[in-house]
Symmetry: C2
Subunit: 203 residues, 2 copies
């Protein structure tokens, strides 16, 4: 088993943190994004979307999409510590929060990055106001999340779950791309400090 | 139990089809999007994201995010017919395909709609080239999916799953917003005709 990885990616970081929380070590193959390795036929045969991470299983088949990989790891390889929930109601709650963190936080931050960063110049169509609008959404979501976190310790409740991993990776990306957490969001700041101090945060 | 719904929504349609496949009937409350009902405090207390669908449970709590609702329905209310997979490997495969259909197909089609449709004029920043780029991505994904479907009957394998529901709702939206399936994509056309002819398709 091995993982095709991208050290700097937000999705790949989600899987690395998830595996570290499970105390699982899976050999890593770094894919050279700058050289376009992810768009070559050899990689596209592993994941036609041309994205990392990809998990290669021992039978030679491949699995992509971060959350699909994480769920497989929890259900097949290492159930503990539980990060997706146990009973159906809790599992649904965690999935809801994980998706809110993806669609409400990660995507606006990524959209801001794509439209405002020189990194994407010439690779994608960039339109500043679209990026600014996305950042504004990200900031509004942070304000809301700050309010939510006044009443509980973690994103989906009283314990650390996959929803925290998604949120922390989104906010690391935000920090690195011009949308850091405003210090006035004291609950969000407290939470971010806590999850960032976990030994797995730098996986 | 009841569902706060939006008849014309792509996400709400996903849940309605899912419930119909399960032969479940849950009372529906239509939310008046045009009147901004989804952004009023009463609705935001149910889902702070201001989006439909929302499932109200019998204990008075609420669950949002389509896929979280669908998974809860399968795990807690009605396991059959199975739409998320059984063994971990199959479940991961279906989740991977469901996410490819969300991020690779649904989001580009929605982005095209948001940037090119008069419906969104004045509500969001619109930039034609961003919309055209998204439509181009959607068309490329359709070409790829057409190729994938040359070798199997459904999106994630030999049977109908939640990934088919996501793909069909994305392509209904595409059909209604200027990105229909090109007839040259014969496998995709065959598949779309088949899933559209299911009794649940008009749920």
């Amino acid at each position: 088993m091995r993982i095709f990885d991208l050290k700097a990616g937000a999705s790949t970081r989600r899987v690395r943190i998830f595996l570290a929380e499970k105390l699982l070590q899976i050999p890593i193959v770094e894919v050279d994004l700058a050289a376009g390795e992810n768009l070559r036929p050899e990689f596209l045969s592993k994941n036609p979307m041309g994205r990392m991470p990809v998990l290669e299983l021992d039978d030679g088949t491949f699995l992509s999409e971060s959350v699909a990989i994480c769920r497989y790891v929890e259900e097949e390889l290492q159930p503990e510590p539980n990060l997706f929930g146990s009973a159906p109601r809790e599992r649904a709650e965690i999935e809801m929060w994980n998706r809110r963190m993806e669609f409400g936080l990660m995507i606006p931050i990524m959209t801001g990055f794509e439209h405002l960063s020189p990194f994407w110049k010439g690779k994608r169509i960039q339109h500043g106001p679209v990026g600014e609008q996305a950042r504004q959404v990200a900031l509004e979501r942070m304000a809301w999340l700050d309010d939510e976190l006044s009443g509980r310790e973690f994103i989906a409740g009283s314990r650390y779950t996959v929803a925290d991993i998604t949120a922390q990776c989104a906010l690391v990306l935000g920090k690195n791309t011009g949308v850091p957490i405003d210090a006035k969001f004291s609950n969000l700041t407290r939470w971010f400090k806590e999850v960032s101090s976990r030994p797995t945060a730098r996986a």
